[in-house]
Amino acid sequence: MSEAVSLSGRASDTLWRRPRFLLALLLVPPVLWLGIVYLGSLFALLAQSFFSIDEFSGLINYELTLKTYKELFRPSNMDILLRTVAMASAVTVAAAIVAFPIAYYAARYAKGRWKAVFYLGVMLPLWSSYLVKVYSWKLILAKEGILNWLFETLHLSWLLQAYLSVPGIGGNSLSVSWTGTFLVFLYVWLPFMILPVQASLERVPATMLEASSDMGARPGQTFRYVLFPLALPGIVAGSIFTFSLTLGDYIIPQIVGTSARMIGQAVYQFQGTAGNIPLAAAFAVVPIVVMGVYLTISKRMGAFDAL
């Protein structure tokens, strides 16, 4: 017993004399785990994008080549890339617009109990099951579902039909249209936008807004020249999530939307049924590069302080 105590005491002394050693002890397990499991796998994937697939045998040709990347820039594949980036941008802009009033009200006006209501009101949808959220929209957008019922009850079905006949955003019904996909994306990622915007707005002193209106600025001007610039780092921080999550998602467009594919679906199909892992890997590189650029720009704009 006493031997064990003195052993632990001695070990403790060593740690005290060598804080670097303690630091290393703390760091080695998590860094090893992330380094091997995560980075290792990531590099394994990236490496495969430089292989190519033999068109005749369908087997992977393990020679370094840029052929797969050339294939990535074929028009049909470019369509997928552009479509996905356009969707991610639209979702991000819409999320910022919907999130702002919620975040602003929660940051400036909600006190005490209401503050908790707003906080949980954002946290519960944020953390509740992703699939359940998608499922709920399948129920809402279904032909026999609540949204169509609502339009019918209000005798506005003609309006919905007129909207659905607009090429590009419409479709046979809401559940197989781009608007449907867009709505589900917006719903699922919205809380990720609200939280950072709220965090950045909390730091805007109310006196600053009062000063602006005292000096004669109309509410619109105060928003344009004071509030918005101060909230921008938060919006950019939130957009990192909405943009990145939309870029890589393959489940939402598969369940609600048209047959035109997005990046995530392409990756999924190429690695699965098509067995073309090099092309799937090349597709996966696109979100990594886009997010790399995006993160670099956001860091310059101070978005990381708002996270």
Binding site: Y104, S136, G248
Partner: protein
């Protein structure tokens, strides 16, 4: 200071919150509907029968058990690794500190499909067959960041002089950890653990790549979403999943209430 909110802002904020909550509430109604062939609204009638049907479904139970097992083990791994990492990053500055925090965040900053396909191709290259542990490997990796975030915030607020005082008074590092550090960070760890559990319990994107033929509850649900076969059972499962995930979130909220981890307070 206490100016009234403009009406437009109130309406927009309220509408936004409704938009976030109505779809989830809708699930609760559908769990009781008598209609089993379509998603008809309004429900033609209400019944409790589907709860009994779901209760007797062995595939749902198996998927649920697998999900709970994976979430528990991943949470434990993530709690150990996340706390170690937080302790190192919060207390000292060293070369590569920024890199370490980036490394922790990367698995959730990049889209899940990339984590998933990376792991799958690594398993392929290394000839590792899919198993319970391949799922855990993926889940623990992206759960680390949740524990890390909670723990790092708490470490920063725990005064370093407490630790020094304990050591000065002759306690060993292990005693200091047991009696000083652990009580201080316990609630933050518990909160992080609960969130990690919720995250793992719900994860589907990475899991589809690392599960092989096994079915976790989210994968079971995904199959139903793509090819609906038993709508009423899915409705009930969806409702139960919502309730099950709400508990850890409420728990985490009450554990960290009044501390820095509450969103909105400036850092």
């Amino acid at each position: 200071m206490h100016s009234k909110a403009p009406l437009g802002l109130k309406v927009a904020a309220g509408a936004g919150l409704l938009f976030l909550h109505l779809p989830i509430l809708l699930i609760f109604v559908y769990a009781f509907t008598t209609e089993d062939k379509s998603y008809q609204w309004p429900p033609p009638g209400l019944t409790l029968k589907w709860f009994a049907v779901t209760w007797n479904r062995s595939d749902v139970w198996e998927a649920l058990t697998l999900s709970l097992k994976v979430a528990s083990i991943s949470t434990v791994i993530a709690m150990v690794l996340g706390t170690l990492c937080a302790a190192a990053v919060a207390r000292s500055s060293f070369f590569g500190r920024e890199t370490v925090s980036l490394l922790v965040i990367l698995p959730i900053a990049l889209p899940g499909i990339i984590t998933g396909i990376s792991l799958r191709s690594a398993f392929n290259l290394a000839d590792i067959p899919f198993s319970f542990w391949t799922i855990v490997l993926g889940h623990a990796t992206f759960c680390i960041v949740v524990v890390y975030n909670n723990a790092v915030a708490r470490f920063r607020r725990t005064s370093g002089s407490l630790v020094e005082a304990s050591l000065d008074l002759g306690a060993t590092y292990f005693q200091t950890f047991r009696f000083i550090i652990l009580p201080n960070i316990a609630t933050a760890l518990l909160a992080g653990g609960m969130l990690a559990f919720a995250l793992s319990f719900d994860e589907v994107i990475v899991t589809t790549f690392t599960a092989g033929q096994q079915q976790t509850l989210p994968i079971w649900m995904l199959e139903e979403l793509v090819r609906p076969r038993q709508r009423p059972v899915t409705n009930v499962v969806a409702m139960v999943v919502v309730l099950v995930t709400f508990l850890p979130i409420l728990g985490a909220y009450y554990l960290t209430r009044g501390t820095d981890t509450v969103a909105g307070q400036s850092k």
